[in-house]
């Protein structure tokens, strides 16, 4: 094997927060021009290692060397100066500014502080390397997460970063977007860039990384070359024991002769949906299969009354809904919606576990507006136990919980009053394997209890394996229905791409 220089070296590094050691005795060498994966369950400390290297956390003990140079205290700014850029799970862009402005933020073409032209040309130059196809003048606030991430990556490249830390880069990307990201990573590697790749997606890691460090409970379990690793070997090291990667068994598909819980006919919305017809029966798990931007979340929002329906008809349990259908009415009729971004749309992070879990069902624990604390505590305790939320405290600071436990709190909020229709948007995004399995079991539990479930996920494998039936979506429309028990991920992708290729021509035909 060829000898590679060490880009970043961590030796016996430790970091604590509020008395808890989140990282202990971390020693890792990140080699130059290699793609180095950090894997482990949520809470294992892999993101924290990224943040130490990126200058966001100052280690309490141990040393950090960058290209042979020992670094004492350093900030994200110092890290950038040394050529280290971090791309966060929660992206850090200025929403009101355009793509170009964000890419060159802080290093705009200027003369003595006065802006000059030229950034656009620089942008096009960068685009040759990246090939993202971004509109330089689009406003960040109008873009989806996947596109924002591309902007963030361009920003790192624009700064000539020699080390790029990517924290869960593919978690909000579709398969083909992830593929393009991996091609970009290969190009970066050819340009002597080191990529530190933090991810849950073992398939991606196995296919695209050169080395891997496996972490558990704030410790490094081992660092090895990727050659010779398998999914099983990685998972074994992550969990500390052999564990199967499997899907829970689906309950038998319900008889669809029953009245559907919800039924939409040719529904359109201002959020880009058109011609949406669907129905979901009690006890049935229905998946929305499509790429990011296909309008999957928008269907969930329309069913929940979060966006008004502008055309078509919508009935719940056979009762036609009026134009003034809204979220409180949806909840009153037993519809629950677990949104995709749990920190921004789901949880009130200033509050503890108890009020978060009760928020959508205050009516059940109160009379004349007064809350019965005794009743509430008992109900919340039961949910914490049911989901195995850690820490198992009703007054836990949700803001500091791991992703998996935050998601369990959010699911508790909607499961505490059993819904008739449960809409789950990315229920297992950014959660560890244990929590993920618990969430999948929960979906099955709900279906067995007669709840209709609408499952939305960017991970096609997840939707297809957990659903009875699926609707294939593209560009705001449902173009086909499929039996998920006989559908493969490859089939689904092929049909979606075929539909996408066909769509522009049909639009042109309409225009004429």
């Amino acid at each position: 094997m060829e000898h590679k220089e060490i880009a970043v070296r961590l030796r016996a590094m430790a970091k604590s927060f509020g008395g808890t050691k989140i990282l202990d005795d971390i020693s890792i060498d990140f080699l130059q021009s290699s793609v180095h994966a950090l894997v482990g369950e949520n809470g294992a400390g892999k993101s924290s290692v990224g943040k130490v290297v990126g200058g966001y956390y100052t280690p309490d003990e141990g040393t950090l060397e960058v290209f042979g140079q020992k670094v004492e205290r350093f900030s994200p700014r110092d890290a950038l100066g040394l050529g280290i850029a971090m791309i966060h799970q929660e992206l850090q862009l200025v929403p009101e500014m355009t793509v170009v402005q964000n890419v060159f933020l802080g290093q705009e073409a200027n003369r003595a502080g006065f802006l000059r032209k030229g950034d656009l040309a620089r942008f096009h130059e960068l685009e040759k390397t990246c090939d993202f196809g971004l509109d330089p003048h689009a406003r960040i606030a109008d873009m989806r997460i996947a596109e924002r991430q591309k902007v963030e990556i361009m920003r790192a490249i624009a700064r000539d970063a020699r080390v790029i830390i990517m924290d869960e880069p593919t978690s909000s990307l579709t398969e083909d977007e992830a593929e393009r990201l991996h091609q970009l990573i290969a190009r970066l590697k050819a340009r002597n860039v080191t990529v530190i790749y933090v991810s849950h997606f073992l398939d991606h890691i196995l296919a695209h990384c050169d080395r891997v460090t496996i972490m558990r409970d704030g410790h490094v379990i081992r660092t090895d070359d990727m050659a010779g690793e398998t999914k099983q070997s990685l998972v074994e090291s992550m969990l500390g024991a052999a564990s199967e990667i499997s899907w829970p068994a689906l309950p038998p598909a319900p008889d669809r002769a029953h009245t559907a819980i919800v039924e939409m006919r040719e529904v359109a919305t201002d959020t880009g949906l058109s011609d949406i017809s669907l129905e979901i029966a009690p006890g049935e798990i229905v998946g929305l299969i499509g790429l990011v931007g296909a309008g999957r979340s928008e269907v969930g929002r329309a069913l929940f009354g979060a966006d008004p329906i502008t055309a078509g008809s919508y009935s719940i349990a056979g009762v036609m809904q009026s134009k003034r259908f809204n979220i409180p009415k949806a909840i009153a009729q037993g519809i629950a919606f677990v949104p995709e971004d749990r920190r921004k749309q789901g949880l009130v992070l200033t509050q503890t576990t108890r009020p978060n879990i009760s928020l959508a069902s205050l009516g059940a624990i109160s009379s004349r507006g007064f809350i019965s604390t005794r009743k509430e505590t008992a109900r919340v305790r039961a949910m914490i136990e049911h989901f195995g939320i850690v820490p198992a405290a009703t007054n836990g600071e949700v803001a500091y919980y791991s992703g998996g436990n935050q998601q369990k709190v959010l699911l508790s909020k909607w499961a505490i009053e059993r819904p008739k229709l449960l809409i789950l948007d990315e229920p297992s995004r950014g959660v560890d394997i244990g929590a993920r399995r618990r969430i999948h079991d929960f979906i099955i539990e709900m279906a067995k209890a007669g709840v209709a479930v609408l499952l939305i996920s960017s991970e096609l494998e997840e939707v297809i394996n957990l659903s009875h039936r699926g609707y294939l979506m593209s560009e705001g429309r449902i173009f086909a229905e499929a039996d998920c028990r006989s559908l493969s991920v490859e089939d689904a992708l092929r049909r979606i791409f075929k539909e996408q290729d066909a769509a522009p021509s049909s639009k042109e035909a309409q225009a004429r």
């Binding site: 409970d217 909840i331 992070l349 509050q351």
Partner: protein
């Protein structure tokens, strides 16, 4: 392998409280205790029931405003019009007391405040404009209305059936202190024991999550501003009744004192977190500083300076705690 084993492996956040956390959490109480001990040592007249009751009595109107303002701020809003509403309520109550009926006047103050507060709330939610801008504008309008009501003049109100509210005592305790106590208890119960309180926290902590939980967030906001207006109106009546004079300029600058007290107490200006007791403590701390300067006979210029420095320190402490999130 069972799920419970898996999740048990995750590191648990510790709930140990460090001295820094304690200072952030109970800083205002610590400062109050230190200040009280210092003043008691320096002056014999400080630690008497009479002086302490006086301090509370004098800050009762401000404390009433601060209680309701806490709700607005927890709900993610900001109310700059409390001082002006205080003024309108003062002159309205004064006018009614003299022209119509002194008992009715006592009700008119809070009622006028309620209406003006509701107008604030409706403009803020109806047009989707930030409450800071709306209440800044309405405070000018309301102050103008106060001047129009009296034509700029003062209204003397020397009526016994009216002045008991601000001057009367039950035993040795002032009526206003009882009113404050009742208001405080009502707001504490409202915030901590009712669904309304929960919703206020949710709206301020994460508005989108609140909407997606089926909460009518606009209604909640309107209610917080209405309560804030009502409290400012009640405070105005107490003040008029106390000094037997209604002035259209009454309460000028009071909105900033109330905001300062809420912040000093440690309620987050970002919304979603805070408590009524904090704001009461904030008001008391400000009153103690004032009382201390009186007792020690120091140039009152240093009073504002000291209050300002303490607010900066308190806010900096709170911010240093937030950074870690």
């Amino acid at each position: 392998m069972s799920d419970t084993q898996l999740s048990a492996q995750a590191p648990r956040p510790s709930f140990k409280i460090s001295p820094g956390d304690f200072a952030r959490e109970y800083g205002v109480l610590t400062i109050i205790v230190v200040l009280m001990i210092a003043l008691a040592l320096i002056s014999d007249s400080f630690l008497t029931a009479r002086n302490l009751l006086n301090i509370i009595n004098q800050s009762a109107p401000l404390a009433i405003i601060a209680c309701a303002l806490t709700l607005v701020i927890i709900g993610g809003g900001f109310d700059l019009s409390t001082g002006a509403i205080f003024g309108v309520a003062s002159v309205s109550a004064g006018w009614v007391a003299v022209q119509i009926d002194p008992y009715m006047a006592i009700l008119v103050g809070p009622l006028v405040g309620l209406v003006l507060g509701a107008i604030n709330g409706c403009i803020i939610t109806g047009f989707g404009v930030h409450s800071f801008l709306v209440t800044l504008a309405t405070s000018l309008v309301y102050r103008g209305i106060a001047i129009l009501i009296t034509g700029g003049a003062l209204i003397p109100v020397r009526i016994e059936q009216f002045s008991w509210l601000g001057r009367g005592r039950i035993g040795m305790v002032h009526v206003a202190v009882f009113v404050l106590l009742i208001v405080m208890i009502i707001f504490m119960v409202l915030l901590n024991r009712t669904t309304f309180g929960r919703r206020v926290f949710a709206v301020g902590g994460n508005e989108e999550a609140a909407i997606l939980s089926g909460i009518r967030t606009n209604l909640i906001k309107i209610m917080t501003f209405t309560l804030s207006g009502m409290a400012a109106g009640l405070a105005g009546v107490i003040a008029v009744s106390r000094i037997s004079m209604a002035s259209p300029q009454a309460g000028t600058g009071m909105e900033f004192e109330a905001i300062a007290a809420v912040i000093l107490g440690g309620t987050s200006i970002m919304g979603g977190a805070g408590a009524i007791w904090r704001s009461i403590a904030g008001v008391l701390l400000m009153a103690l500083i004032g009382n201390g300067f009186n007792i020690l006979n120091i140039n009152p210029f240093f009073k504002d300076l000291t209050t300002g420095v303490i607010i900066v320190v308190a806010v900096a402490l709170a911010a240093s705690g937030r950074k870690r999130r």
